[in-house]
């Protein structure tokens, strides 16, 4: 714990700022105004982060693919997103002739709104959570589940078979992996005994020696985190699970028929979902805003949170640059035949961990069970019939 008042103030700087700003208003309006202020900050901050990330992504991908990436606009191409933003704002907004105009219009909007809602429950630093809900995790998943419908709306209203196919794929994929995502998070809930995300972070914010009690440093937590990471990648339709937008086969999936600002909204929604899901992963498994080593606690908590999120984003980009895309049936098989059983097993191991009590034995037992299951199921999954060439059944 940073005891120095300077560090405490630095840590709480945003809270202090908010209270100071709100202080100008009459007392009755203060809570509402505080919330509005925070919402405004979130709504401004994350799109900014999004802009930054796109540059990083493009440059990072360029690095991985042995090319330069954007380097024309501004220093090292860092103003590229501004140019992109202006471009998409000024482009003509095309709505296909036979499209369902209302739904076509609502789809990107509802997507972005739902994704923004997810940030409401993420604790981004000590005391820095917009609404510390009792059922925060459930809220998060409820919101992320609502995005699926937006994707469907976009795909269906475009009246384009590629869009529809892409949307169906996306929805099927998101539903399948949402199960895994949810179940891998439930392990954390089982240990913490709370759905409140700030409680979950608080439960991880202690140290043995200099090492933190993050859940990723337990066998079940590691397994859960791996599952969570895989499911999160699929949930956000990122490579290698980016079939719904597979450019080579579906043009661009459900946002084929979107252009201009609506397209930008989808783009924004996707990246925001990435941020949100990384933020949740950080909160659940990586100790949220807590410092990785006990002597680093003087660094403000929000710095830790954002660096962890950005690290996850970097991993996302890295995977995109490295891994080839899966096939649809492989994707589904992987979700239902490997991820789901393994996550369920992880839940059982978590329960075991919970009830075995302190001691080295539970480490050995849960590690052994998980490792064995991983090896066995991996071997089963790698059998030819799952990943080999596939006989296609064409539509009747």
């Amino acid at each position: 714990m940073a005891t120095s008042p300077l560090f405490t103030e630095l840590d709480q700087i945003f809270i202090i700022l908010r209270d100071w700003l709100v202080g100008f208003l009459p007392a009755a309006l203060r809570p509402a105004a505080g919330v509005v202020l925070c919402v405004i900050i979130i709504v401004c901050l994350f799109p900014g982060l999004f802009a930054l990330t796109t540059v990083f992504e493009r440059k990072g991908l360029g690095r991985i693919q042995n090319r330069l990436g954007p380097n024309r606009v501004g220093p090292f191409g860092f103003f590229q997103p501004i140019a992109d933003g202006i471009k998409s704002l000024t482009k003509e907004d095309i709505v296909p002739f036979s499209a369902n105009a209302v739904v076509h219009f609502l789809a990107p909007l509802s997507l972005v709104v739902a994704v923004f809602m997810e940030f409401a429950v993420l604790p981004m630093g000590r005391n820095m959570v917009l609404v510390d809900m009792d059922a925060g995790l459930l809220f998060f998943f409820a919101m992320s589940a609502s995005t699926e419908l937006s994707v469907f709306m976009a795909g269906w209203s475009s009246r384009n078979k590629y869009s529809l196919l892409g949307a169906m794929r996306a929805v099927a994929q998101m539903i399948s992996y949402e199960v895994v995502l949810l179940l891998s998070s439930v392990a954390v809930v089982m240990i913490t005994g709370s759905l409140s995300l700030s409680t979950i972070v608080a439960a991880q914010n202690s140290y043995t020696g200099i090492f933190p009690h993050w859940y990723i440093f337990t066998p079940w937590g590691l397994a859960g985190f791996v599952m969570y990471a895989i499911a999160a990648t699929a949930e956000t339709n990122r490579s290698p699970f980016d079939l719904p937008e597979g450019e080579s086969e579906l043009v661009a999936g459900y946002h084929t028929e979107y252009s201009g600002f609506k397209f930008a909204l989808f783009f924004l929604g996707e990246y925001l979902a990435m941020f949100a899901i990384s933020g949740l992963g950080t909160t659940l498994f990586l100790g949220g805003w807590s410092a990785p080593l006990s002597f680093l606690t003087f660094i403000p908590s929000w710095i830790w949170f954002f660096s962890k999120v950005m690290l996850s984003i970097f991993v996302f980009i890295w995977m995109r640059g490295t891994l080839p895309r899966l096939r649809q049936d492989q994707l589904m098989n992987f979700a239902w035949k490997f991820c789901l059983p393994f996550t369920l097993l992880d839940l059982m191991v978590t329960a075991l961990w919970r009830f075995m009590g302190e001691g080295w034995l539970r480490w050995v037992v849960s590690t052994a069970i998980l490792a064995l299951a991983y090896v066995l199921m991996g071997r089963m999954g790698m059998r030819k019939e799952h990943f080999g060439p596939r006989r296609y059944r064409y539509a009747e």
């Binding site: 369902n100 739904v103 059922a135 998943f141 409820a142 609502s146 419908l149 469907f152 269906w156 539903i175």
Partner: protein, 166 residues
């Protein structure tokens, strides 16, 4: 009885009406989603946070998706040739109106002298969890079984019959 309630009630009822009346099946499904969302917010209004979020997760996240999938799989997105309402729609309408009439009557009748709690119940998710695995553990297990059975059943029912080798 405040403005928020009226707004949400209007949203829910409007969504429900649209779901029943719209011509296009996909529109109906989307309107249903609106009704679901309105209901979820009514739940929140009723301080039932958990139920509200569960409602969103299950109904918007799963049931609505299921419905649109079913619509697309049954080619329901194409408009039917012979009208969307069944032959004796009028009878149905009358009966539904009758149901509303007696229900409303019953509500008003019984509300006359019923004492009601207005204090916000101090119930946390933790309490719900304890109740679920404590007093309600048997229903929970049964529901788990039911869901498993339903999953398997739905898969089997909707599965392609195996093509016979020729």
């Amino acid at each position: 009885m405040n403005l928020v309630f009226y707004l949400l009630a209007a949203l829910t009822i409007g969504g429900g009406l649209a779901a029943v009346l719209l011509k296009h099946l996909v529109h109906c499904a989307l309107a249903t989603t609106v009704a679901f969302a309105g209901l979820a917010m009514l739940f929140l209004q009723l301080d039932a946070q958990f139920a509200g979020f569960a409602q969103i997760l299950v109904y918007i996240g799963a049931v609505a998706i299921l419905i649109v999938f079913a619509i697309l799989l049954t080619r329901g997105s194409e408009l039917p040739k012979d009208g969307v309402f069944s032959r004796s729609w009028f009878v149905g309408l009358v009966i539904a109106a009758g149901v509303f009439a007696v229900l409303g009557w019953a509500v008003l009748e019984s509300m006359r002298a019923l004492p009601q709690q207005t204090a916000v119940p101090a119930v946390t998710v933790h309490d719900i969890g304890i109740a679920l695995v404590g007093r309600y553990v048997l229903p929970l297990e049964i529901v788990a079984l039911l869901l498993t059975a339903a999953t398997i059943g739905a898969v089997i029912v909707a599965m392609h019959e195996k093509e016979r080798p020729r």
